[in-house]
């Protein structure tokens, strides 16, 4: 393959890294400048991704805005980046959430400010890298790099039990990715290249054929890494600890973006590279997904810590995404991808809201609150909207994703009716724990003087600025989702067309 010139994707990818390098030259004491530079970097990155969207041709199912440069030719490793319908929305979402994450850190991070923002920007670089990398080796590097800043974000700026949470997070994810590395090495070896589009093409036209049993092993190798990241039940136990201990921005990024790397991985690698195995494994994965939906909801309801409740709700919501993906239908996968974005928005916002309360009251215990709506009416109204968005109220974003996923699962040839049935029970339970959360914090009488005093601490402009963009998307996606689906439609259709024969075979036999 010929080397290409630098594309918009590469430019976008390196903006955060450049921003981080700039930060390193700013004296540690200039905290204000550091914050502004970080914010500017993330905003520029966002504008760059908007340019990418403008340049993106949604009618073309293949990779676009590609940069290809040979890197280690003798091993078939290259610097290969680009976007297609499967990733463009996730890239957008990443760059969209980061400014909010910076803004919520504005006042709350007071120590080692420079280091903190440097890690944030490093993290953003790696996350965008994960979504645009088209070379397996490059992907793996970005994948592992995301761990390091997150590890420190939790470990240094986290809450009282941060070290335990950080190590648990790191080792758990690391353990999962080792098998993936093995699978990657094997696949690169077999296929003669690490470039994903070439490998997919080879699988599609039959030039790359797996020995019996090998396909499933490779599928599992990737799947475990991704499943831990998502997290798929029962591999979720790192998640609540990490979420609860992480600083607000850490939780926002974790929920908003890092988890999506897992679900994205399934769509990008598992389905097209191992179509046969995907079809075979679909009922198992979907079963775990449905268990996760119900389990996450159940455990959420039992929490008395607001942040933990939201953290467990992620297990439930991501279960929906997994169910959509492994329905192996166009509606399911599109719904799944959209739901990744939706979850990033809604759950990210919920973490911000909990963070705002924590800033003021230094507690996350539900019992410490009550009647906050009366004290902070605007904040209460905002929270209500995000709660409703998270529980999938029609007219808001969450519903569109959930509904399409249900349509996809219902129309699936590999999943029986009961998957859909039990998943819908999760929709009911989501309403239970989210309304419980809202009721505990915002309703009832204001019976504690500390809560009464919140009257004097209205939201800062940074907090508004972090929430308003998310709010706009909540309504936009909820009311007019056509444009969002249009971006991914072509690529998803191509993917489904590739898997189609295997599904037919399985359904027929």
């Amino acid at each position: 393959m010929e080397n290409t010139g630098i594309s918009l994707t590469t430019l976008t990818l390196f903006v955060p890294l450049i921003g981080m390098l700039v930060l390193l030259f700013i004296p540690r004491s200039q905290e204000h400048t550091i914050r502004w530079v970080s914010l500017a970097t993330t905003v520029i990155t966002f504008v760059m991704t908007l340019l990418m969207l403008a340049a993106f041709n949604s009618g073309d199912p293949d990779l676009q805005l590609v940069t290809y440069m040979s890197w280690i030719p003798q091993w078939g490793i290259s610097y290969y980046v680009g976007v297609d319908g499967l990733s463009i929305l996730l890239v957008l979402m990443t760059s969209f959430i980061m400014p909010s994450a910076i803004l919520v850190s504005w006042k709350s991070i007071k120590e080692r400010v420079k280091l903190y923002y440097a890690f944030m920007l490093l993290l953003q670089w790696a996350m965008i890298g994960v979504f645009v990398a088209q070379d397996l080796f490059l992907f793996y590097i970005f994948w592992e790099v995301t761990l390091i800043p997150m590890y420190f974000l939790i470990g240094i700026w986290g809450a009282e039990n941060r070290v335990y949470a950080a190590v648990k997070f790191f080792l758990y994810t690391m353990a999962g990715s080792i098998l993936m590395l093995l699978a990657i090495l094997f696949l690169g070896n077999e296929g003669g290249t690490f470039a994903v589009p070439q490998l997919v093409e080879a699988v599609r036209n039959g030039t790359l054929q797996y020995a019996p049993g090998i396909e499933m092993l490779l599928f599992v190798g990737f799947a475990i890494a991704f499943a831990i990241k998502v997290p798929v039940w029962p591999l979720h136990s790192w998640l609540p600890d990490a979420h609860v201990q992480a600083p607000t921005a850490g939780s926002v990024i974790l929920a908003g973006i890092l988890l999506k790397m897992g679900t994205y991985g399934f769509v990008r690698f598992n389905l097209p590279l191992f179509p046969q195995a995907s079809v075979e494994a679909a009922p198992v994965v979907a079963l775990l997904a449905v268990i996760g939906i119900l389990y996450g909801a159940w455990v959420s309801y039992a929490q008395d810590d607001a942040k933990k409740l939201v953290a467990y709700s992620s297990v439930s919501h991501l279960g929906f995404v997994m169910l959509g993906i492994f329905a192996l239908t166009a509606a399911g996968i599109q719904g799944g991808i959209l739901q990744m974005v939706n979850h990033g928005i809604s759950t990210g916002a919920l973490f911000i809201l909990v963070g705002i309360l924590y800033e003021r009251r230094h507690t996350k215990a539900l019992a410490a609150f009550g009647g906050i709506w009366k004290v902070l009416p605007v904040f209460g109204g905002l929270s209500l909207i995000f709660v409703l968005s998270s529980m999938g109220l029609p007219g808001l974003n969450g519903f569109v994703g959930e509904f399409t996923i249900l349509l996809g699962a219902m129309g699936s040839d590999v999943l029986s009716f009961f998957f859909t049935f039990f998943a819908t029970l999760g929709v009911i339970m989501a309403a239970i724990y989210l309304l419980y959360l809202f009721q505990k914090i915002f309703m009832g009488p204001v019976d504690k003087p500390e809560n009464e005093a919140l009257k004097d601490q209205p939201l800062t402009w940074q907090e508004y600025a972090a929430l308003i963009p998310l709010l706009i998307l909540v309504f936009w996606i909820g009311l007019q989702p056509a444009g969002w689906f249009a971006q991914m439609s072509a690529s998803v259709s191509q993917l489904v067309a590739q898997i189609g024969p295997y599904v037919q075979l399985a359904a027929g036999g």
Partner: protein, 775 residues
């Protein structure tokens, strides 16, 4: 290109004004009460005007030739699902048309009334915002041309009812009622959503006209076996059952009716909204709308039923009777009405179950009008009682939301009332008009005609055809009997309510002082003007559905056939047959209505029950069994049953079983066990490598020795380090095993391990260097 002069686009505009009003009030006008009032009122007037224009046009009364069977509307793409485009649109057909008469009118009157009712509440602006959203959602639902848009309106209403029932959220009983309403209906909604998804999977669309006007498709769906139950039910049947489940929740049918009586916690205009114009009507509207699908494969007119129809018949019939029994024993003026709503909705659901399509629609419209009237009337009564109570006690200014819990006095308890007829006469006369309609008072009440039509249909389908050798009409016979009993009870409790509230001597000081501030007060005018409009309609509106062969009146009002029946019947592909005129159902409905009213008169009106004396029905029932009345009073203890059988166990599952045992105990426990195992393994490595160092003395063991020292370093006893060890140990094992299977060369494994070790060492060093990280 959208041509706005084209009438097909007009329905889009109907729900828009209240939605815009909602946004405006939330974002802009919420600081000024009068601007907010203007916004909300202007929006509801505009919606009403547009809807009325569409109504007149469709009904052929003005602006055009009428629908003549053809629906109109338009749609736009909303979702692109790869193979299918999902369209969103609006349409107007005869069923929509009659809804467009009732719903916006009820909304408009409720809005006017609300302004008077809520004007002293500190959150009055928010109240009107929610009400606007509520109205917008209901109108969206009515004009929707597909099941998804209908569902969106349906759910947004669910949310609005949650926030409006829990509007006084400082009061625990209020927010609990809100959550209960939302949760109960949501259980049903999600089942309905399942039906929607199933329908989409089968039909590839959710468009009403495409699905419902295609008999061939419905036939096919009725002969396809369902995904579950091994073919015992057809796909159409299962979808139908799911959809009916949605209605059972939304329209408060047994066993999901429990939320509706509690919904009385909200301000009274909300009750009127929920009980009449929106919410519960939406549930019945949906099944009427989906009737061709629900009845696919069944021919109730020939005695062939299917699962959804039977479900509707039995649930509706049972609910009608069950709720009427409970209503008799209630003393809260709004609760009586709440149970009457449940009961009346049962009439509609049951009627639809036996295929009485237009009768169900007819009763829906009539009920919407007179129930809005009754609720607003009861609100005026409560207002007057509160007023009287303040007067009586000279408490000075009271905020409007004095909670029942704070004050021992309950302004909603009918035992505290009596004699209000002289104090609030306008409310009394209009309330009586509504009560007559509810009781089915002959001829001059809307409810008489619609109930009579249901009776006639049930009779026709059940006993009336006994001449033929048909079997399978059991459902219709069942329905005829239970509805007759329910109608008798309805007339009885309605009369009881009017008598206890308005007749006789005041039983408390508050009742003696009750009033709305005189005929010239703003509140009085705003709250009573809507009552007069609806009161007149409650008396005369029924004449649009008189049977053509009804003695005298048939010729007067229905010379060309029953107007309502022939118009709404045009919604279906095949016009539902007009049934002949029967005397038996007419006499039945006369007997039960007048009988119930007479018994009520005899017990409560003739000799009003004085303060402190037991209820006459209670006295007579207690003679039979002391439990009877208590059970009725306590709604047959269903709330308690649900609490013990469902709520408590699921909380136990959540908190104990899943969260404590499974999540903390097993899943995290396994992880920690691995960590402990690894520390043991580390110990083993340490010994092993000591042996190696002692044994051999060259390079490789030296390296291992270094490793060993590092391991020793790690053995500091804290959990994280064990964990790290655990992972490494599993990795080594995992890698070796997979290497054997996948045959990756060992160099790669060493490379991987090397990378790992480096990362861990680096992390460890950095971690150590940072004092801040160690606890």
């Amino acid at each position: 290109m959208i041509e706005w002069t084209n009438a097909n686009y007009l329905p889009w505009l109907i729900p828009v004004p209240p939605l815009i009003a909602f946004v405006l009030i939330v974002l802009v006008t919420n600081r000024s009460w009068w601007v907010t009032v203007f916004t909300a009122l202007a929006a509801s007037v505009l919606s009403w005007g547009l809807a009325t224009a569409v109504f007149l046009r469709s009904a052929g009364l003005a602006f055009g030739p009428g629908l003549a069977g053809a629906a109109f509307g338009s749609s736009a793409p909303w979702l692109d699902l790869g193979q299918t485009q999902f369209m969103m649109g609006v349409m107007v057909d005869p069923l929509t048309t009659v809804m467009l008469f009732m719903v916006p009118l009820a909304i408009l009157t409720i809005f006017i009334y609300s302004i008077g009712y809520i004007s002293h509440d500190p959150r009055r602006e928010r109240f009107l915002a929610y009400m606007s959203l509520f109205a917008g959602a209901m109108l969206t639902l009515v004009v929707a041309d597909n099941l998804l848009l209908l569902f969106i309106g349906w759910e947004v209403m669910g949310f609005c009812s949650y926030s409006l029932i829990g509007f006084w959220y400082e009061k625990p009983s209020a927010y609990r009622a809100g959550v209960k309403a939302f949760m109960t209906t949501r259980v049903a909604d999600v089942i309905m959503l399942l039906g929607v998804a199933y329908l989409f999977a089968e039909a590839g669309t959710l468009d009403f006209r495409t699905i419902l006007l295609d008999p061939a498709f419905l036939e096919k769906l009725a002969s396809t076996p369902a995904l579950i139950f091994g073919g015992a039910i057809s796909a159409a049947g299962l979808i139908g059952v799911f959809l009916v489940a949605g209605t059972i929740g939304k329209s408060a049918q047994f066993p999901l009716h429990v939320w509706l009586p509690d919904a009385m916690e909200g301000p009274t205009p909300v009750s009127a909204m929920i009980h009449a114009a929106a919410m519960v009507s939406a549930g019945v509207y949906m099944i009427i709308r989906m009737y061709p699908l629900l009845s696919a494969g069944a021919h109730p007119h020939e005695g062939v039923y299917n699962a959804p129809l039977l479900l509707m018949t039995y649930v509706g019939g049972f609910t009608a009777l069950f709720a009427a029994v409970i209503a008799i024993a209630q003393n809260d003026i709004k609760r009586v009405l709440a149970y009457s709503t449940i009961s009346q909705l049962g009439f509609m659901v049951g009627a639809l179950g036996i295929g009485a399509y237009t009768a169900a629609a007819f009763h829906l419209i009539m009920h919407g009008i007179f129930k809005a009237l009754l609720f607003m009337g009861s609100g005026a009564v409560i207002h007057a009682m509160e007023h009287g109570e303040h007067h009586a006690h000279e408490h000075g200014r009271h905020p409007h939301n004095t909670f029942a819990g704070d004050a021992p006095f309950d302004p909603q308890d009918m035992r505290n009332m009596g004699g209000l007829r002289q104090r609030i006469p306008v409310t009394f006369y209009t309330f009586v008009a509504g009560a007559m309609a509810l009781a089915g008072f002959p001829i001059i009440s809307a409810g008489f005609w619609s109930k009579d039509e249901i009776f006639s249909e049930a009779w026709h389908l059940g006993l009336g055809v006994l001449g033929g050798a048909n079997t399978g009409y059991g459902p219709a016979i069942f329905l005829f009997i239970v509805l007759a009993v329910a109608a008798f009870l309805t007339a009885l409790y309605t009369t009881r309510q009017v008598a206890m509230t308005f007749i006789g001597e005041p039983r408390t000081e508050a009742a003696a002082e009750a009033g709305l501030g005189g005929p010239s007060s703003m509140v009085s005018v705003l709250m009573q003007a809507p009552l007069i409009v609806l009161g007149v309609l409650a008396l005369v509106l029924g004449f649009i559905g008189v049977h053509p062969d009804f003695p005298l009146l048939g010729g007067l009002f229905s010379a060309q056939g029953n107007p309502f029946h022939s118009f709404v019947g045009g919604t279906l592909v095949e016009h539902p047959p007009a049934i002949p005129f029967y005397w038996v159902p007419l006499l039945t409905s006369l007997v039960v209505a007048l009988g119930g009213i007479f018994v009520g008169y005899w017990l409560y009106w003739r000799k009003p029950v004085p303060a402190g004396q037991a209820d006459p029905i209670q006295v007579s029932l207690d003679r039979i069994s002391p439990y009877l009345y208590t059970w009725m009073r306590n709604k047959f203890y269903l709330d308690e049953l649900y609490d013990r059988a469902l709520v408590k166990p699921s909380m136990w599952v959540s908190e104990t079983l899943v969260s404590a045992i499974l999540d903390q105990g097993i899943i995290d426990g396994i992880l920690h066990a691995i960590a402990r195992a690894a520390s043991w393994l580390g110990e083993l490595f340490k010994r092993f490598n000591r042996v190696m160092i002692d044994g051999v003395g060259d390079g490789i063991p030296m390296a291992i020795g270094a490793f060993g020292r590092w391991f020793r370093n790690i053995q500091t006893g804290n959990v994280q380090q064990y964990l790290m060890m655990a992972i490494i140990a599993t990795l080594v094992i995992g890698l070796s095993v997979s290497a054997l299977i996948v045959r990756v060369n060992t160099g790669v494994i060493l490379l991987v391990l090397g990378v790992l070790v480096v990362i861990i060492i680096v992390l460890n060093l950095i971690g150590r260097a940072w004092g801040g990280m160690a606890e």
